[in-house]
Symmetry: D2
Subunit: 432 residues, 4 copies
Amino acid sequence: MPPPTTAETTADIPADAPAPASPTLVGRYHEVRDLTEELAAPLGPEDQTVQTMPDVSPTKWHRAHTTWFFETFVLQPHRGGYQPFHEAFGYLFNSYYETVGARHTRADRGQITRPTASEVGSYREAVDRSMAATLSSDIGEAVHELVTLGLHHEQQHQELLLMDIKHVLSCNPLRPAYLAHDPQRAADPGPLRWLDRPGGIVAVGHDGDGFAYDNEGPRHDTLLRPHRLADRLVTNGEWQEFVADGGYQRPELWLSDGWAEVQAGGWEAPLYWEQVGDAWHEFTLAGRHEVDPHRPVVHVSHYEADAFARWAGARLPTEQEWEAAVAAQPFVEPTFSAAGPHPRGAEGAVGPLRQAFGEVWQWTASAYVGFPGYTPPPGAVGEYNGKFMSGQVVLRGSSCATPPGHARATYRNFFPPRARWAFSGVRLAADA
Amino acid sequence: MPPPTTAETTADIPADAPAPASPTLVGRYHEVRDLTEELAAPLGPEDQTVQTMPDVSPTKWHRAHTTWFFETFVLQPHRGGYQPFHEAFGYLFNSYYETVGARHTRADRGQITRPTASEVGSYREAVDRSMAATLSSDIGEAVHELVTLGLHHEQQHQELLLMDIKHVLSCNPLRPAYLAHDPQRAADPGPLRWLDRPGGIVAVGHDGDGFAYDNEGPRHDTLLRPHRLADRLVTNGEWQEFVADGGYQRPELWLSDGWAEVQAGGWEAPLYWEQVGDAWHEFTLAGRHEVDPHRPVVHVSHYEADAFARWAGARLPTEQEWEAAVAAQPFVEPTFSAAGPHPRGAEGAVGPLRQAFGEVWQWTASAYVGFPGYTPPPGAVGEYNGKFMSGQVVLRGSSCATPPGHARATYRNFFPPRARWAFSGVRLAADA
Amino acid sequence: MPPPTTAETTADIPADAPAPASPTLVGRYHEVRDLTEELAAPLGPEDQTVQTMPDVSPTKWHRAHTTWFFETFVLQPHRGGYQPFHEAFGYLFNSYYETVGARHTRADRGQITRPTASEVGSYREAVDRSMAATLSSDIGEAVHELVTLGLHHEQQHQELLLMDIKHVLSCNPLRPAYLAHDPQRAADPGPLRWLDRPGGIVAVGHDGDGFAYDNEGPRHDTLLRPHRLADRLVTNGEWQEFVADGGYQRPELWLSDGWAEVQAGGWEAPLYWEQVGDAWHEFTLAGRHEVDPHRPVVHVSHYEADAFARWAGARLPTEQEWEAAVAAQPFVEPTFSAAGPHPRGAEGAVGPLRQAFGEVWQWTASAYVGFPGYTPPPGAVGEYNGKFMSGQVVLRGSSCATPPGHARATYRNFFPPRARWAFSGVRLAADA
Amino acid sequence: MPPPTTAETTADIPADAPAPASPTLVGRYHEVRDLTEELAAPLGPEDQTVQTMPDVSPTKWHRAHTTWFFETFVLQPHRGGYQPFHEAFGYLFNSYYETVGARHTRADRGQITRPTASEVGSYREAVDRSMAATLSSDIGEAVHELVTLGLHHEQQHQELLLMDIKHVLSCNPLRPAYLAHDPQRAADPGPLRWLDRPGGIVAVGHDGDGFAYDNEGPRHDTLLRPHRLADRLVTNGEWQEFVADGGYQRPELWLSDGWAEVQAGGWEAPLYWEQVGDAWHEFTLAGRHEVDPHRPVVHVSHYEADAFARWAGARLPTEQEWEAAVAAQPFVEPTFSAAGPHPRGAEGAVGPLRQAFGEVWQWTASAYVGFPGYTPPPGAVGEYNGKFMSGQVVLRGSSCATPPGHARATYRNFFPPRARWAFSGVRLAADA
């Protein structure tokens, strides 16, 4: 009998992908763009087309949208005589920039069968050629900044691509893998330890040295109270205790909106967990496997993180507490593997605040609002972050699906509190 | 610049496809199965995967479901030692047979990226091999009947495949063609003429000679009143007059439910009509073209057909009136072209009741209920037609998208009165 | 402790209300109008205001809308110098007459607290005074017909008022009664007997003698096949057998749309049945009582009626079969009690086709379409029946909630097949 | 002609209601309870029953729920031998206390016609008698605190009652008044002046002296940056300029979620504004009147407040900025009139930060989360505030509909950012 579906087996897993390291912008441009294509490579045309919920975008849409960004903000205004690759792509691949013009409805992205995945490849190649020519000429500071922004934008979409395709594949009763392989059991991370953290005035926010999004600044003083932070992430084993203790059946543990989601969505465990016989399994990009108690829990909403913390007699950290602790220790670039990213566990993690990066985004107690003194930059690019400052919650750190070179202590990720399809997990905090 | 999307141009249009004509069942099996693949051939993997509304099924689903029918109802019960191609396909490709077991949610068919279009091809080939072996052995009458039913079932899905892909492609702002070519203007069909038809007792329903679905019988007497039938279909030109006369703005012309749909859906013209400048264009499988006033109007709902008839001072025929008239004249097999089916016009049509077949399905005034004495056959195959006898309206004739050999005077097609994505049009009737 | 809610007890049940019998039109006008107020009398202002689903209208809306009918179609055009009682009432109390002007959204009728129930009473009195003056003058035939139509229209709304308030009260966890009293057990109706009915051509439809709605004609010949009709209605006891036999869990018994409703609505028994301990109870206008096995089942949808018939090895009658049988036996005016109408049982019912009227409306197998030759009358009154001829099913007979004098053999009631809040039940039929 | 609807005219407007001032708890109990009944007095039974959106509760529900609070948390646990007034009222009138037991669905509160408004009055009287007896006995500190909490809880519902009935009456095309009277034009408040406010560490939150909700503490230090606050509220005249300048058509002014609401809701102006001819009118509790340019704008969402501030080149204040400024000036009890509360205007307002209380709640830039160190109290009463700390935005101050004695500088009101039916308006802030 033939193998049931494509790409479920893979002979050799790609080695870890390094962070973009080229000394030139054009070099980094190609490094980033190539990783996008590498991430899409295990996915066939069907995989790249489907949208399983409004939050999800098709793989080929991500590949095209990131290309449209360079075409719209770099090539069209700054490359003389540039002709758009296709007149309709501006309409199809604009994501949310109101000031750039009309755009295709987000929830209908999965209705577009053409351009095909292959044609999107041609689009990428054409734009890459023009970009390479542009970048080898004398570009000014403003264009340099736009290209840099475009590369970070594309790295964001690399993580979205992985989040989204995981959701797409999970909706298939066959539970096909992005890249199948058998994970080894992770080592026991040992008991959680509390790090005592002092109060006082500390400066947080990006200091302008190196790239950062607008929402990471301005750097400003903030007043902390003495507190404690967990030295590692909450594990699947701990989450199983929460489930077994009726965590999903006890309204007193939940925020009111969270409890409504639990009931409306029939939540009984993190997204992608399924009970197979007596055991919890979880769907991963490497296929469905038994839940490993030593790895960090992942794909929980803010509501679940908050309820877990209350159950554990703790709370979530504020983003300022998180940043102050992480900024105080050396930054170590996390490893990234394109072969089915999944949290690894605490082994080898350095601290004192271990697993800050490269495992799961960590929900904070902080609503996503502008830092004091923040104002969005003018123009279309200014729509980038500021207009989402309502109804969302900040996550800090980075995840196993965050591409290499994209993590930093001031990074402010954000999602609505009910969202579960990001690689999001939990670090506990407590008052002193 | 590269061509924007695949398959928009085609050098030579396939010649008309003939009706299955092989003297053997195995021969007809291959003829029907091959036509399905021929119809899918212009469609890439992306095209074959998407579902743009719950009524629509992906192309590869149609290809797999028709295969599942033979596997489930013929091979599994009647071919010793047969092993299903894939254990999950029964779940994925059952359409609505409750008695056969659980099945995947209809509205989520577009979430399934695997099996791929190519793997569905392998599935078809494997089942075809087993079927060929079975059909070359000594099968009994019951299996012969099941295979015959399966072939007619597949022919139905050939038309659905065309209806569905037309909807899919229409949702793309690029309006890509299934197979692009430039239609010629149709000849003027001349003024509508009324055929006087007598009253009295006539027998309708299938007489058991040749294949028919269960819902076409039992043959029975019915009492007609004298009436008149239009000798041809309503044209686009006549529909444009209706539109221009405020047909879609005058509630007194509409059934109450129909008026609610007009307002909820913002209907201003048939599905697939768009105003381009001052002119109405329509999206066809051959791309978007200016509306041809001489061709029959197509893609109108029962509500629109009924409102048009009221506006025209006429009514829709009952299915008995339609059948009695058509049964009284010779049957001529309509031509079928796989190259972007679209209504042709009245030129060369024979009568007296011209355009009975091969242009558009004709909405009747008859609700879809069982004929007197009808009882569904037992077993899963008995779920075929009877359980839909509620809330739907009968259409008679056949359309340009009906595969060759599938039309007959007793055929009872049915859709909900709001449905517009079938190749449905209007023939008028009136009391004597 | 004070009694929990108003009107739950009533000392003496009103005697049966007679049919309007006055020899003059003005006399019959007052008889009908008075019964409306008598039916509303047990209901407080709160009861009269609420709308618990879009199909339901508040009691005071019924009282006002029937008044608006006389004001709009009789007083304004035919009474010189008449000034509308309130300029906004035309907007508020038009039900669906598109040609009369804009109207308040049906689903929002329950948002209107003013005019109050008492003010609606003043509206009724004022219109009644003007109507009495008009009717005591020399009115022509046309006005006479309009008033007669208005009275039948008001009788229809009397039944709707009872259906609607039953739904309203049923949504209250207190299950308060409209008028509380303890029903006696009904007598055993004995086993169902089949009446053999001949085939052939018979005339059906109203013959123009006495009042009828437009949709009851024209009278016309129809061709029947020999068949059998049950001599009595299906009882609660029989329905309990159906429930106990898994009737609501077996998809093969159901129409496809019906099965979808069963699952979406969580149907396990007729509307208003509740399991209390081991026993089925049902909510009635007289409060909640244990289901009486000898009374006719009531508040079942067409889908349930159809599934029950299939389970019983029978089918539903066509409306022509029903009418032919009932027209062949003497008409006996059913009794009507305003004190919490509820089906009584077969005791004392005359036949041969017993319980034709005054118990429950009887679902037929017939879709609601126009009779041959039917055309709606012109003008606003012509919107009365014709525009609902889509997606609905015919019920025949009358119910315990049908006001006296409103039943006849040609009456064509209609509801969507999923509707359950009418006093609808089942009579079985079978092929000969 | 009779007056169209009840209560549209009122001879004499009640004098301003004073704050509860009795030296005894039982005295204050009666003062608060009496005001609830005074506020309900202009409303008939129909008015008190209806729910026009899920956020709205019927008047009689408010009257019953506040009574249930005392019955459940005071009488049942603390009054020996107390029998509940009605066994089902616990189910019907629990609002959201999960730990107290099952409860009636919030969105269905408008389906309950019984108990009637009058029966709710009897319920209130019976509980008041028991409460009076209890309060005249020797109650301990815990009960004293519960009663005090219950009175503040009832004051909150007094404002909700006014908000809710305003929405109910506004849905009636007659636009009936709660209490009709003709407002006088307000005086011109003069140009907005900016108050310079210093940065530094300040303490905010309730200090425990007098009553406060749990969410107002703990008092804690916070770090402010130098900033400016508007000395008065934004006026209708200023809002009309925003509207005229295309404020509701320019996406660049709006948060992303806000822009989605503008489009989905068809927002063109504040809730309750309607264009009558060329002029903006607004629906008030005193009926519909032309918008007064000198009064504060009211019934705007957080999204609108934020967009207005951006349009004005300013921002919204943080709740800490607001509290620090207001705590620095003397508190003046605002006047309250039960006769159709509506913002008055700046005349006579004292400052420097004028109109802090008694006009409109002032949206802040602060998401509603717990203050540092906040933990909800245990038990059902602990469900009071903490579980809503997600997805809502803080408003500060008080409004014209806030009952007397209920305003204080630390009060933290909160609503979702899209809510508009509260008496909410705007005070601007800016960076120094």
